[in-house]
């Protein structure tokens, strides 16, 4: 809802309005400047570290003549397929398990055990199963993202507001009507929380998977750069991963905030 600004509102200077952005950018620029200066002064060994200028150079090289685009496409495909599958199956299974008590009791031991185990511990096993092609990475991403989505969906379906349930029952609601008009819409904010966590864990999954068993992808690029002491390449990979993480998390957070306005308070 937009309100008209009162005419008596004191004038804000450009700085006070954008303080966060200005100070934030300043720190980044300063950091890069100091870094570059140290590099130019010869204070940094190229074996252990890199410099902004070298990273930009390497970035342009890998982008134009190297395999960066192909690697990004490969990693992105792994992530997209794995995460897409996790989102669909996680929400469907979560709704079913959340709604049917017996199903929940039945699957509970497995879910608790798998949820508590760091999924990267399973990476070697998954590579034995699926080889070092695309499907082992897809499966790792899937496993990483599936559990947070599932657990949050289960929680959302179960978090039925008791007052709303009582009201629906007083108006003769059937179980199916309670499911479609209360349980499903009520769990949307919870599902989106699961999606956000799934994005973060899925990204870890794709990078770890490619580092351990792959000959392509951004994760492999980082691992290879490390093994060959090519710190410039290593940094390019890291920065690509960092920016993908920031972008995807930002999208998921926006989505979550958009719907959490009516999250039931507990």
């Amino acid at each position: 809802m937009k309100r008209k600004e009162p005419s008596g509102r004191p004038h804000q200077s450009f700085y006070t309005k954008h303080e966060a952005v200005i100070l934030g950018s300043l720190s980044v620029v300063l950091m890069i400047g100091v870094w570059q200066a140290c590099w130019s002064a010869g204070l940094i060994s190229p074996l252990f570290f890199s410099s902004p200028s070298a990273i930009i150079k390497q970035f342009r090289y890998t982008l134009m003549e190297g395999t960066l685009l192909a690697d990004m496409k490969y990693s992105g495909t792994n992530f997209a397929i794995g995460f897409g599958l996790a989102a669909i199956t996680g929400v469907v299974a979560g709704v079913l398990i959340g709604w049917y008590r017996r199903l929940r009791l039945f699957f509970d031991p497995f879910l608790s055990a798998l949820y508590a185990t760091p999924r990267v511990a399973m990476v070697p096993l998954i590579i034995i199963w699926f080889g070092i092609g695309i499907w082992s990475k897809v499966f790792i991403v899937f496993l990483s993202a599936f559990f947070p989505i599932l657990i949050n969906t289960v929680g959302g379906v179960r978090a039925l507001d008791r007052d709303l349930l009582r009201a629906a029952k007083a108006y003769c609601a059937s179980d199916w009507q309670i499911f479609t008009t209360l349980a499903i819409p009520g769990s949307v904010p919870f599902i989106l929380t699961g999606i956000r966590q799934g994005v973060a864990l899925g990204l870890i999954g794709v990078v770890v998977g490619e580092m351990v068993g792959s000959s392509q992808g951004v994760g492999f690029m980082v691992a290879y750069g490390g093994q060959t002491f090519n710190t410039d390449t290593l940094f390019v990979g890291m920065i690509v991963i960092a920016f993908s993480g920031i972008l995807l998390t930002w999208i998921a957070e926006r989505l979550e905030r958009r719907f959490s306005r009516w999250r039931p308070e507990r």
Partner: protein, 265 residues
């Protein structure tokens, strides 16, 4: 003509933790006439909400009978609608969506009728212009209007109201009481109204039933002699205060007796 009839109704609860039985409602008999506004007052813990939940069909009962138009109550039904203390609105639905929710669940009206009734009852409770707003954009008093509109739109024979104004501040409550009478004079439903506020009961109702606590029994039923329409000024009428006082004394006697019983234990 009797619309709602309660005969020798008792309700026992089993307290698992204390391993003992509590008689929440004890042998209550009450008849509410068609179009009558009956209020039940009593201290907290007197079983008035239990009574309402049984009539609403939300609680099972084993002893006695509850019937509407001579049909025994066995669970929720389209002949009743409840206005809850918590407005219990779906936060993801607009005001219009919430008003039609009860009708939607009951599936008695076709789409066109539902739309028409939604519009009508939103207007009746004075919320036209707010159809597309969400509940969290509304004040507590406005939310209770939606709650009431949802119940009325479902076209019940008996309207059950469970302390609907208890959570509102004093001023809003007074205003809502007057509004309720205005709306009721147009909708003309049989009403069972639960409250712990004596003057609310006397102001609204044709008759006021007083309940006592532990076990929840019907003490006395007062006939309220004032005609309608009633204005808020009635609350300062000496005769009004007299009735309020009489009910107050009855409840106080009760609580003293209860204190003595508890002291003996």
């Amino acid at each position: 003509m009797v619309k709602l009839s309660i005969e020798h109704l008792s309700k026992r609860y089993w307290f698992e933790r204390e391993d003992r039985e509590v008689l929440a409602v004890s042998d209550v008999s009450l008849a509410v006439a068609d179009g009558e506004f009956l209020a039940i007052v009593g201290p907290s813990g007197c079983g008035k909400t239990t009574l309402l939940n049984i009539v609403a069909g939300l609680l099972p009962y084993e002893e006695g009978t509850v019937s509407i138009d001579d049909k025994q109550v066995r669970g929720p039904g389209v002949d009743r609608a409840v206005v809850f203390q918590q407005s219990s609105l779906l936060p993801w639905r607009t005001i219009a969506g919430n008003v039609r929710y009860g009708m939607e669940l009951q599936r008695r009206f076709d789409e066109a009728t539902m739309r028409e009734r939604t519009e009508h009852f939103v207007k009746l409770v004075g919320l036209n212009g707010f159809e597309r707003h969400y509940p969290n954009e509304l004040s507590g008093g406005m939310q209770q209007r939606v709650n009431l509109a949802r119940a009325l739109a479902a076209d019940p024979k008996v309207l059950l109201m469970d302390e609907p104004f208890a959570a509102l501040d004093a001023q809003t409550r007074e205003f809502m009481q007057a509004e309720l009478l205005k709306i009721w004079s147009q909708a003309r439903k049989t009403v069972l109204f639960i409250t712990h506020q004596i003057n609310e009961a006397v102001y609204l109702a044709d008759r006021v039933a007083v309940m006592s606590a532990r076990p929840g029994r019907l003490k006395e039923v007062f006939k309220i002699p004032f005609g309608r329409p009633r204005t808020l000024a009635l609350k300062r009428d000496p005769r009004f205060l007299e009735i309020e006082d009489a009910i107050w004394q009855l409840i106080e006697e009760e609580s003293q007796r209860l204190n003595m019983v508890l002291a003996e234990k």
